[in-house]
Symmetry: C3
Subunit: 159 residues, 3 copies
């Protein structure tokens, strides 16, 4: 029923990295699994956890299956639950305070990001991230077509 | 494309804190960013992670933009997706077991909390939490008008 | 307003465990609180964090109230928001690539998992997980009726 992976007693370390990417579409799921794998390997952590953090208010981090038709389904569900063609108070620039000149009408994207969440954490075991056979890690842009970044923060026992 | 923040080799520590607040409305987003900043500073952690944890079943932790019109949009979306005026079995006190005398009809709030999630984690780098320019951390009360609390748990390398 | 729990200075460790379970229904919330408690106790961590991680793309980890009528409400909300009887591109096996012979029509379950998220983290304090009075931890199967597993990853200061 259960299996212990390791019970080492070594010293600990942390490492934080910022990654930059560019999205091209309003809704875009960028598979960042390979980047996370490489960062974790370069950190030489044997056992611990890795936090993937999105610093934007119209994007999210999610883990699911990288299958192109399924990504359409996720997009359709989000647009059905949080439509772009209804009224968002956030987009009433006439009454809102602190509006920039290049402000986007992206109330819908904030709400989608609010539903999805800003981070996901994964386990590091034997120097590798633990991922299910069909899992990929995604940076999910909900108001894309611009440069974006995200962070990878590793904490654990040194190899 | 990427930047390493720090590769220190110092010793680690953890620190947990409970914070209490009072909400006044059924739906209320309380900006707790300043409290999280102060707790992380007081912990003297140079690099690591901070977990914000909500111990209630009708509240959530979320990170997004603190803009008053947008907070209306989030509220409207949640009430549209999980309406208060449909039937929730949780509120059938006649058939439910273990009902307190002061029980609230809050099935809708449990479901909203279930969709949103109980925690968010952030990165600590150079002694500060890493937040995007427009990000604030919120305690989201979905059945408010009462005292609430949440926890801040810091783990990382000592300054 | 706030209370410090502990400020120890002991050495740190990590521990990862995989747990297996079997679900019987399409939608099933399995209460895993007791298993998490036992794993944390066996790890002899005084203060730190525990990450509960789901490696499947049609399941999720959530924390809420273990009340049987409420679990119906959660199920009904998910099926209302992400119906099984609309079209999902993921289920168009005629056009999709990489389809197994025993493939399930589970586009809806992927979308539900995408909305809910793959992990939750909790705080360990004084050797125990910090849980609200009404909180239980759930493995949420959205395409069940088969063996599943999840991971518990503990990190913190040794007792």
């Amino acid at each position: 029923m259960s299996r212990w992976y390791n019970k080492t007693n070594s010293s600990m370390k942390t490492q934080n990295q910022r990654i930059t990417l560019i999205t091209k579409k309003q809704f875009e799921m960028v598979d960042i699994t390979q980047q996370v794998r490489e960062t974790v390997k370069a950190a030489h952590i044997q056992s611990g956890q890795v936090l993937i953090y999105n610093p934007h208010t119209t994007a999210a981090i999610r883990i699911n299956h990288n299958e192109s038709l399924l990504m359409q389904d996720m997009m359709k569900a989000l647009y059905r639950l949080v439509p772009v063609d209804i009224s968002y108070s956030h987009d009433l620039f006439e009454v809102r305070q602190q509006v920039s000149v290049n402000e986007r009408s992206n109330g819908h994207a904030h709400v989608k990001a609010f539903l999805l969440g800003s981070s996901e954490s994964l386990i590091i075991d034997q120097g590798e991230i633990v991922l299910g056979a069909k899992q990929s890690i995604f940076f999910v842009d909900l108001d894309g077509g611009r440069p974006r970044d995200y962070y990878i923060s590793v904490i654990g026992e040194k190899a």
